[in-house]
Symmetry: C2
Subunit: 408 residues, 2 copies
């Protein structure tokens, strides 16, 4: 079960003026589930995106990048689950284009004004006829107050829908930010089988929005990992509809910092929700590496810990087998690391220093920390001033079960 996470209530996900959402049960892979979503954006909306760095990126990812690069006004997003349209070659690209064309026709815009997204199994042809057949239903129920349905429509192996909303005041105007996301395996920086959509009704310049998404992704979705696998389809989209009647936000202003931090806050909440609902997760772990020479080495150490199956199974077992953490630090790839100089903490408990177990440490202390559902692992390298944080979950029987059964 997800770790300290439940689905949001519908009324918690506040409408964003200028964003309408409509869903359908298109039976793309399985019957009786919402699996198709259209997000319609009012004219004047700014849109920015970041995408997977996987060389096998899916057809819709390539098409999204292409459409964003053309600088045409983006008027809608279309998202299907059940099939990732990845590893599908030229025919996959053709079908992604057909999807955009079908949405464009229904909304009376151009295909290049549509951003397509797919998630699900890889290497199988997208059932384009089902996608197209489901689109009229999506258009029919388009409305602003549909965020929870939208969050549900993009789920795959997620157990709970993921959404977050907040309202801030910018120079006297109330502004709303609402986001949804889906996980839940293959979660890793750059990025994951992760789809995230964060919208605001604030007026934000294109340049400012692009700066915000870079800032936010490096503090949220690029800090999480479930299994170290990076997906073919990961995408994060930020949208600003400009319907809140605030003065246009340019980079560097006080309003810029406020909206940046609020959108980053929503992104962090969504990213953490993905880890809390990681496949088979029973624990939520925060790995913090401090006092490193640069953030790169801090991230190396944090990810070595977060990716180690031995560490993750020990956390599943609530076993303070901290030697496995030390081993992971040791093979993180920081060649000149002096292991005698670092400290390892579990929660507030100093566990290891001087290359060995701390004199003050007793295993009952470690066991007490390990029994918690939320655990902090803190490594102090004592060789610089940089830091990095990574969030991850443990590795359970259910991870194997979910991924062994996924296609059956």
């Amino acid at each position: 079960m997800p770790v300290n996470l439940s689905a949001p209530q519908a009324q918690q996900l506040k409408p964003v003026k200028g964003v309408e959402l409509g869903f359908a049960q298109a039976h793309i892979r399985k019957p009786n589930r919402k699996d198709l979503l259209v997000v319609r954006l009012n004219t004047g909306t700014q849109v920015a995106g970041v995408f997977t760095k996987n060389r096998f990126c899916a057809a819709p990812v390539t098409l999204c990048k292409d459409h964003l690069a053309r600088n045409a006004e983006i008027r809608a997003l279309v998202i299907n689950t059940g099939n990732a349209n990845a590893g599908t070659g030229e025919e996959g690209m053709h079908r992604a284009k057909q999807t955009c064309e079908a949405v464009a026709k229904l909304l009376d815009v151009q295909a290049q004004q549509i951003l397509p997204f797919s998630t699900g199994v890889i290497l199988e042809p997208l059932p384009i006829e089902r996608v197209v057949a489901g689109l009229p239903d999506c258009i029919e129920n388009l409305k602003e107050d549909n965020w929870l349905n939208a969050a549900e429509a993009i789920m795959t192996t997620d157990i709970v829908a993921k959404g977050s909303s907040r309202t801030i005041i910018l120079s006297g105007k109330s502004v709303t930010i609402t986001g949804i996301a889906k996980g839940s395996g293959m979660i890793h920086p750059n990025m994951a089988t992760m789809l995230g959509y964060v919208a605001t009704d604030a007026a934000v310049s294109k340049q400012a929005l692009e700066s915000i998404i870079d800032y936010a992704v490096n503090r949220s979705f690029n800090c999480i990992t479930v299994d170290g696998d990076t997906s073919t389809n990961d995408s994060l989209i930020m949208m600003a509809t400009g319907q809140a009647e605030n003065a246009l936000i340019e980079q560097g202003s006080a309003d810029y910092l406020a909206i940046r931090d609020a959108m980053t806050g929503v992104a962090i909440e969504l990213a953490q929700a993905i880890v809390r609902d990681g496949e088979g997760a029973t624990k939520f772990m925060t790995i913090t590496v401090e006092a490193g020479r640069d953030s790169d080495e801090c991230r190396k150490v944090a990810y070595a810990i977060a990716h180690s199956p031995l560490v993750k199974t020990a956390f599943f077992a609530s076993d303070p087998n901290l030697g496995r953490i030390l081993a992971a630090i040791g093979y993180a790839g920081v060649d000149d690391l002096d292991v005698n100089a670092l400290q390892l903490y579990l929660g507030d408990v100093l566990v290891a220093e001087h290359g060995g177990r701390a004199a003050s440490y007793e295993e009952t202390q470690g066991s007490a920390v390990m029994k918690e559902a939320e655990i902090l692992v803190r490594v102090v390298l004592n060789r610089g001033e940089s830091a990095a944080t990574v969030w991850t979950c443990d590795f359970s029987y259910d991870y194997v079960k979910i991924n062994a059964d996924y296609r059956s």
Copy 2:
């Protein structure tokens, strides 16, 4: 259960003149199991070793390197299971030295002529008094015909003992090579919770033996992975006692090539045995990456596949979810990889090319291959002439169970 692997019969592990082995039940962690081994070497034996590159390497690893660097004649090895003496700081080093001193005293040699090895839990003090108390038993049953007992004495979570022997003729003289090893989690190049010992009675110069161990390790223990974790204690030792009455083998001769290939063959068999007995393994996978620009990029791709939990769980499920393999190739870190140019084979079946599923592929073909216990995954990058092979196993419920329960 191990994949196509059973323990060797005692008579299959041929004695090596000049190597005597003696074991004890020292109750280092658990009662009623062999957990202490002494290997006595006749005078004149050449010894070479390669060790873990983990920065948190264990005290005995540091001491082994030190003793080998002193060029004193190595006269014995001492190996305990149940405790890795890693992450144990200065006290750990003290206890590793005490172990060597105790063996040296019993054998009437110097402490620097002893190589110590430990494997088991990390970050707990080595129970030195139990080790020392067990040593006289080891000395008492030292004999040349004790290799199977020795293989059993170094097991931790291994299900079966691992050993291999072969005899070759060098310039008319019969020469024996016998090796033993233990796994079975934390297996990864450079290297693993892996201990391996390969001895021959051939006369081999120190320089030639060092060349042989480099050659062999890069084609055996550095080509395997179970879970991607690299241990604090991995060690491979090669010994040549010079009792076979052959002419001293120097690098480059015909005899050199023959003994090199035979010792490498034993090392490959032991390394593969470790994977076949990987924690929870039900499948043995060979990942071959061909036609790459250099061996480094071939290894990157092979290890990305071999380390992916999603790939490993799909193999456990006998599910030809080949999209997960393509995704792993895509994030392997080969930045300019053209995914449209590569071919992916499962066994003899062409599965993917031109960035998608091969036109000729039918899932029944993939399913048939996946049902086998031994599976070949072959990636042809079509951009050069280099190649690399990695052996790994699948990822099952039992992997989680073994590693969640290991200390309980």
